[in-house]
């Protein structure tokens, strides 16, 4: 259902025309509401700030946080980056990979994408309600958005926003992206992983066709979106005259726990090491033989490697390669390390084959 609403500011008495269902029933006379906007574009800092806002002991009941990042790919808590995005391309183009703390799928951020986070008490958590809030904010900008079955925001069949949730004992948050001016071609490139024979326990992204707000409005931009969301937030929680408090890097120096969280998000152990177990099967026909490799990777470390080379001279090499690979990180550095360890003590005649093997593995993982 789309609602075309003129973008004049609605006063409370006009709201009654749209039915009581649009308003939350107040059980308390006042609600503690706070709204923040981040002036920082560093994705790790913004995520750390979000976590801090969520976990604060003296937290307000309802918090709105608006932020945007420079180019990066953000995957969900339990996802497998090797299956979700093209890590090689990202590394070539210097696009960092980030793992967030909430669930859900993989998304591409750039400065044309604005993120919103709505924090609320757990009992009030309702996926549809919070998605509808953002949708109404878009209606005020003359954009015909709606909420689909998966609680994503769409315009027609195309997705404009993806969302994810985190729920703890007393609070919950719903956060999502909003593609305003984002580079959709880049999004398509980075979120398209190369075809691999990989099976794992990670959460898979659900792909959908996307569009961006720019295709539906000449006047929308980051600031007008933020303002509209702020106004809708105030209307929904019946707190007039809300303002956005600005957050910047000073926050990191004032709150060491934000800095600590930011540092943790950047570690390899969090970004890659939190990948649930998966098995990757690869094979290749070389001039000198056929190689089949099966890697069982848990927490980013190769726990089990099975390598079969069907050339009789190379059986010993296969055994030694297995030994060298097991325990290494499933990454170019790990593979490189394994081959370096292997080069010591291998006969000269096999060096070419080993080099080819290494090149193939580095290319394929």
């Amino acid at each position: 259902m789309t609602l075309r609403v003129p973008s004049c500011r609605l006063t409370p008495h006009k709201l009654s025309c749209f039915g009581a269902s649009r308003r939350l029933l107040l059980t308390e006379p006042t609600r503690k509401v706070e709204c923040f906007i981040s002036k920082v574009n560093d994705p790790w800092v913004n995520l750390a700030i979000e976590e801090w806002l969520f976990r604060r002991k003296d937290a307000a009941k309802y918090v709105l946080y608006l932020w945007r990042n420079t180019n990066c790919v953000v995957i969900g808590r339990n996802q497998n980056p090797w299956k979700e995005c093209d890590l090689k391309l990202m590394s070539q183009d210097s696009i960092p990979l980030i793992r967030r703390r909430s669930g859900g799928g993989a998304v591409y951020h750039d400065i044309g994408n604005t993120n919103y986070t709505v924090i609320m008490p757990r009992d009030d958590f309702d996926r549809r309600k919070s998605a509808s809030l953002i949708s109404r904010a878009l209606h005020h900008l003359d954009i015909p958005s709606s909420v689909n079955d998966r609680h994503d925001l769409v315009i027609g069949p195309n997705k404009i926003s993806g969302s994810a949730y985190k729920i703890v004992s007393d609070r919950a948050y719903h956060h999502g992206t909003m593609l305003i001016d984002a580079d959709l071609k880049a999004l398509g490139r980075y979120l398209k992983p190369p075809v691999k024979n990989m099976v794992g326990k990670g959460v898979a992204s659900v792909r959908s066709p996307v569009t961006r707000l720019r295709e539906h409005s000449f006047t929308v931009d980051h600031l007008s979106f933020c303002e509209s969301v702020l106004e809708e937030f105030g209307r929904t929680y019946e707190v007039p005259d809300l303002t956005l408090k600005e957050l910047d890097l000073d926050l990191l120096s004032k709150h060491p726990d934000i800095k600590a969280d930011h540092d943790e998000l950047k570690t390899w152990n969090w970004t890659y090491g939190q990948t649930p177990e998966f098995v990757h099967q690869l094979d290749h026909q070389f001039a000198w033989g056929q190689v089949n490799a099966i890697f069982r990777v848990n927490h980013g470390i190769i726990t089990e490697a099975t390598i079969t080379i069907n050339a009789k001279d190379h059986v010993a090499v296969a055994m030694r390669l297995i030994e060298a690979l097991e325990g290494q990180c499933y990454s170019p550095q790990g593979i490189q390390q394994a081959f370096d360890n292997l080069a010591v003590g291998t006969g000269m005649r096999l060096l070419d084959e080993l080099a080819e093997l290494k090149a193939w593995l580095l290319e394929s993982i």
């Binding site: 339990n78 669930g103 958590f125 994810a164 949730y165 985190k166 729920i167 703890v168 919950a172 959460v203």
Partner: protein, 446 residues
């Protein structure tokens, strides 16, 4: 004393995406509200906190495993002063069973003790509640006041004990549920026999999975006009045949079939299939054609469904391709199905593609039955119990005598929209002929 509590997976999201788990370890001490694990489901990462103080005893899942909604997550051992429960209490988060309603994100909690709980207290009042439904907050209040919850009458839904009930009971304001002069009733039933003004206790329970399946299937079967045909089969020859087979199996203990002995069912099932060869219409099914008109689907394979009475209820798995199997192979399949059903390990494929059903209600008893058709079949048979009855027989000397025969009643129901009475009558007589004179089976052997 310690109570073992189990935490179950809350249904915070749709069931189609199974949750993944991250955990505390056994031996860890947990307090109320400390996180015990993180569960991930489609888009939500949920941190589950402990409702109790205690020590983690066992984990039902490893980190990274896929957990099932409604199943226990971990066991927490607590110390509880109240002696009211001598049996494990399970804390489960209830699920909304409708997949189409809005996702219920707030976790609803019920605590119930199993019906076989609480022996009678030796208190003076006769009111005993075997089902003490109460939230942890209410239980805490009761515990703090050393109150036995089974003595409190709940005024909430389903007899749930609310905070007000407990407080009123403590204050002594609650009128005693029964007159003090009535003697304690020896049975742990919840309805006291003394005062007539007590309302009758009824409890509502949702249907189990099997009951629900039966309900759906039988409602569909209502649209089919049934007719029944019953007959009597003299089983003496079959009994002899069975004895011979079992003697053979006993001699060859390590036989390739893995069987010690067989029951009548494999013989019934095989002869049914042989008889079906001449009456293939009974193996059909009524379907809606593409143009909307009704068609008969002729099926080549005889997949005979065998009704099994299990502790969970009625299950009808089928034995596939009976027309191509021998009696011993069928016996093997039957044994396997019985084992699987006792372990609750039957797969959906066992229940699909059945073409005709045979029910052995006779193992419990009965003479004439009226089995209800499965809506994907047109014929179903039920065999009653075997009884020893007197019958007339002309002996070899030409004298008519009364002899004892083993007689079994059978009843067949069929879909009268596509099958007529004569067909079923002839089919049953054919089957009866094969069972009474197994020589015909041999004669037809290829």
């Amino acid at each position: 004393m310690s109570i073992m509590l189990r935490r179950a997976i809350p249904s915070i999201t749709r069931r189609r995406r199974p949750p993944q788990v991250r955990f505390v370890k056994p031996g860890d001490t947990v307090e109320q509200f400390t996180p015990v694990c993180e569960v991930q489901s489609d888009k939500a990462a949920v941190e589950i906190t402990s409702r109790y103080d205690g020590t983690v005893k066992t984990l039902h899942y490893k980190p990274g495993d896929v957990a099932r909604v409604g199943q226990p997550l971990l066991d927490i051992e607590t110390e509880a002063a109240s002696a009211k429960d001598h049996v494990p209490t399970s804390t489960t988060y209830s699920i909304s069973e409708e997949p189409h309603t809005e996702v219920i994100d707030s976790v609803k909690q019920t605590t119930a003790s199993p019906p076989s709980a609480s022996p009678l207290r030796s208190e003076s009042t006769t009111f005993t509640n075997t089902q003490t439904l109460a939230t942890p907050a209410v239980r805490r209040i009761a515990k703090e006041n050393n109150l036995n919850l089974s003595l409190v009458r709940g005024s909430g839904p389903d007899g749930r004990i609310l905070k007000g009930d407990v407080l009123a009971h403590i204050a002594g304001l609650k009128p005693t549920p029964t007159s003090p002069s009535s003697p304690p009733s020896p049975s742990p039933s919840t309805t006291s026999t003394s005062t007539p003004s007590q309302p009758q206790q009824t409890t509502r329970k949702p249907l189990t999975k099997i009951q629900r399946a039966m309900y759906k299937s039988m409602t569909k079967s209502l649209t089919i006009p049934h007719f029944s045909f019953s007959d009597e089969i003299t089983l003496n020859a079959t009994t002899q045949l069975r004895a011979q087979i079992n003697a053979y199996l006993k001699q060859n203990q390590k036989n390739e079939w893995g069987l010690e002995k067989i029951s009548y069912m494999p013989i019934f099932v095989k002869t049914l299939s042989v008889a079906l060869r001449d009456f293939e219409i009974l193996n059909c099914r009524v379907v809606q054609g593409e143009g909307g008109e009704v068609e008969l689907e002729w099926r080549e394979s005889h997949n005979v469904g065998v009704a099994m009475d299990t502790p969970q209820g009625l299950l009808v798995p089928n034995i596939k391709s009976v027309h191509q199997k021998s009696i011993l192979q069928i016996a093997q399949d039957l044994q396997q199905l019985r084992t699987l059903s006792s372990q609750n390990a039957l797969q959906p494929s066992h229940f699909q593609n059945g073409t005709i059903t045979l029910s052995n209600i006779g193992s419990i008893g009965g003479t004439v039955m009226h089995p209800v058709l499965v809506d994907t079949e047109v014929c179903i048979g039920a065999v009653g119990s075997v009884r020893r009855l007197p019958r007339f027989e002309v002996g070899e000397d030409g004298v008519e005598r009364v002899v004892a025969k083993e007689v079994m009643g059978v009843s067949f129901s069929a879909d009268h929209r596509v099958v007529d009475g004569a067909t079923v009558a002839r089919f049953v007589r054919r089957w009866k002929g094969l069972l009474e004179e197994p020589g015909w089976l041999l004669a037809g052997l290829k």
